[in-house]
Symmetry: C2
């Protein structure tokens, strides 16, 4: 078997943890398996490097930032190889150049185009554990790129696809995917299996367990993912095409406080006005989430939408700049809101799910601001203060804690 | 003009110094010159990385050590590019892969084989300052190598040769090559010019201003070197094939405390015995310096030689191991000795130089232990305590402080 294992920055933050990961990989290797390990930069390394760069040049060219950041994973992988050698097992560290992980050109947010597998195959054939830098690629100019935060998950999936690995295990500080955040909902239950689509909806709804780009890629190439804890030997959650439904309507509840609502009032009720607003925001890389439009007074309409908290200020700046051509009478905003989402492949064939969600919230006196739905997800906007109570209420309402 | 400038680790140890170097390079660039900058790792980075590695695995594979160490220069060059951008000048950082600095395979002590110039030319053609990682290469396995300590000087010379640069400037914390260490000899004088051969002898005699491998390469490819201070605008010393002799017999005096003497006594006076001793030491990478052989009692001989202080213990271990087959009666050693050397192309045609050296030392009551000579150098071994007094005495004896 060929197994790809990915460990995040906190799993390799110090000597003890590096050795713990090394031992875990060696255990797999000693079963006779081929092992490819993907690592992030140690602990807070990436943030420290970013701070150094910001001190020198707050508007540093992204090409140079990537050149700087990619040193972080190179340090982790070489130290990991040294640790494995100390434990008597032959290992070799490789960076994006040595593997040749071809990516698109966009610095700071590149995507993989193609991954060469010869070097890794060659090293595996000589029975070495291969340790690869996560998070980085090389573009057509022969420059380093990075994949953006959480990119090491994507590296692991891309390598698993390129090498046709038998398994791709993502080790994190939680031991799987839960029906809700266990720190908020006490009786949250770990899922044995979940579908790619459900995992994607959960990831985009605020569950931080997997980077959604990695789930997309896993779905595209049929790479079966296992999310496991690096701290214990629990079985974890398998993410795959079709999951056993366990007779559940929904798989999980996710909360997300990183959201803000903007309302533009008194917009002229003419075709193209809404397009102009959202087109301008998109052009400036502002992602708009839930959108709600209502009829205003005297041939005008009011439009509300949500953005992430980071995008709130830039979005307001753009709206103010174009207030006149966009025919906006007034701009309002609020950053004390939160999203709560339920996700489940089962809701497609079950029309009562939305009603049950609203009922659970109503019974607990929680007011709903906005609603957005996809085929397998329903998201509602509520007051930020009520998010924990709402998570528990919805979790209980759907009986997710029961086995 | 195309100018290669090399700055050491202390010149880029912090933000202020990075900007000072950036400004200096930009000044050159704004004269219309093409500028290639070679940098070492910031401050103590290399030592810190080595300590990290030693903590994980004291016998770490050298391949992985090089993978780790090469991150140091990559951090310097990317931060330097950011600093230049902050000052409004377009710059690009490149590592050994991006330039393609082909080296021999030997990790930790590689030598350059060939350097590709296309990428650098391409960047220079678009009027960028090009910043290259010193100290590192890539071997035929596509793995990083390092050149050993002081290797960034060699990188600068190798790039200057490959690019046929008009000048190669080595910036250090001293402002040139002196007739003696100015911290020891108060009236030491900065040399305007020195030949490659003299510089080589000075470098191997303990003057730390240039790495001798870089001088060898400069000589081989006819790269004219200038040693300058990164802290001031003084003119520095030019190292070239033929230097103006300034009517001096010798160019400089160098002292070196990093030496120890080993004596093997009562060695059987048969052919091949001395060979066996020095061959065994060489096989174990121990460099032997001055050798002195004298006749002992009853058909035996005594052999004394010097090694660096680091090599003392390993050398003694080897001699003890082979004491019997090497027919050694007794091993003695002393580590409170020092070398003092005078170097000068002028001594070749001047037989009185050695006599003058011995006279200067004798007049100051300094005892000579051992003597070794080359065409343009005389080295004597003295008591370590007397090194400063001896340096001053010899410097005065040859009138090196007089202009």
């Amino acid at each position: 078997m060929l197994i790809v294992k990915k460990f995040g920055g906190s799993s390799v933050a110090n000597k003890e943890r590096i050795f713990r990961v090394a031992e875990r990989c060696i255990e797999e290797y000693k079963k006779g398996n081929d092992v490819v390990v993907v690592l992030s930069a140690m602990g807070d390394t990436t943030d420290e490097l970013l701070a150094k760069a910001a001190d020198i040049n707050p508007n540093a060219p992204k090409r140079e930032l990537d050149m700087l950041l990619t040193t972080g994973e190179q340090v982790s992988v070489s130290l990991m190889a040294m640790a494995m050698h100390a434990l008597g097992v032959s290992a070799v560290s490789l960076n994006a150049y040595q593997v040749m992980m071809h990516s698109t050109s966009r610095y700071g947010n590149a995507r993989f185009k193609r991954i060469d597998s010869e070097r890794i195959r060659h090293e595996l054939d000589s029975r070495k554990i291969v340790i690869v830098t996560g998070f980085q690629g090389v573009n057509k100019y022969d420059d380093y790129t990075t994949l953006g935060r959480g990119g090491s998950d994507t590296t692991a999936v891309a390598l698993a696809a390129a090498l046709r690995a038998d398994a791709c295990e993502i080790y994190t500080d939680v031991d799987g995917v839960y029906t809700a955040d266990p720190r908020v909902v006490k009786n949250a239950r770990k899922l044995k299996e979940i579908t790619y689509d459900e995992m994607l909806e959960l990831a985009t709804s605020g569950a931080k367990v997997l980077h959604n780009r990695s789930v997309e890629m896993a779905k595209k190439y049929g790479v079966q993912l296992v999310v496991r804890s690096s701290l214990n030997l629990e079985e974890g959650t398998t993410v795959k095409e079709v999951a056993k439904m366990e007779k559940m309507l929904i798989s999980g509840v996710a909360g997300d406080k990183n959201t803000a609502r903007i309302s533009v009032l008194g917009v002229s009720d003419q075709p193209g006005v809404a397009f102009k607003i959202f087109h301008t925001l998109a052009k400036n890389n502002i992602n708009v989430d839930i959108i709600l439009q209502s009829v205003g007074r005297e041939g005008t309409k009011d439009i509300s939408f949500t953005v992430s908290q980071e995008d709130l200020k830039p979005a307001l700046a753009i709206l103010e700049e174009y207030q006149e051509p966009m025919t906006i009478r007034e701009i309002k905003w609020e950053d004390t809101v939160a999203k709560i989402s339920i996700v489940g492949a089962g809701m497609m064939s079950n029309p009562g799910v939305a009603a049950k969600l609203f009922e659970s919230l109503y019974n607990n006196g929680i007011n709903i601001n906005m609603i957005s739905t996809s085929e397998i997800r329903i998201t509602v906007l509520i007051d930020e203060k009520e998010i924990d109570k709402a998570m528990q209420a919805v979790h209980d309402g759907f009986g997710l804690g029961d086995v």
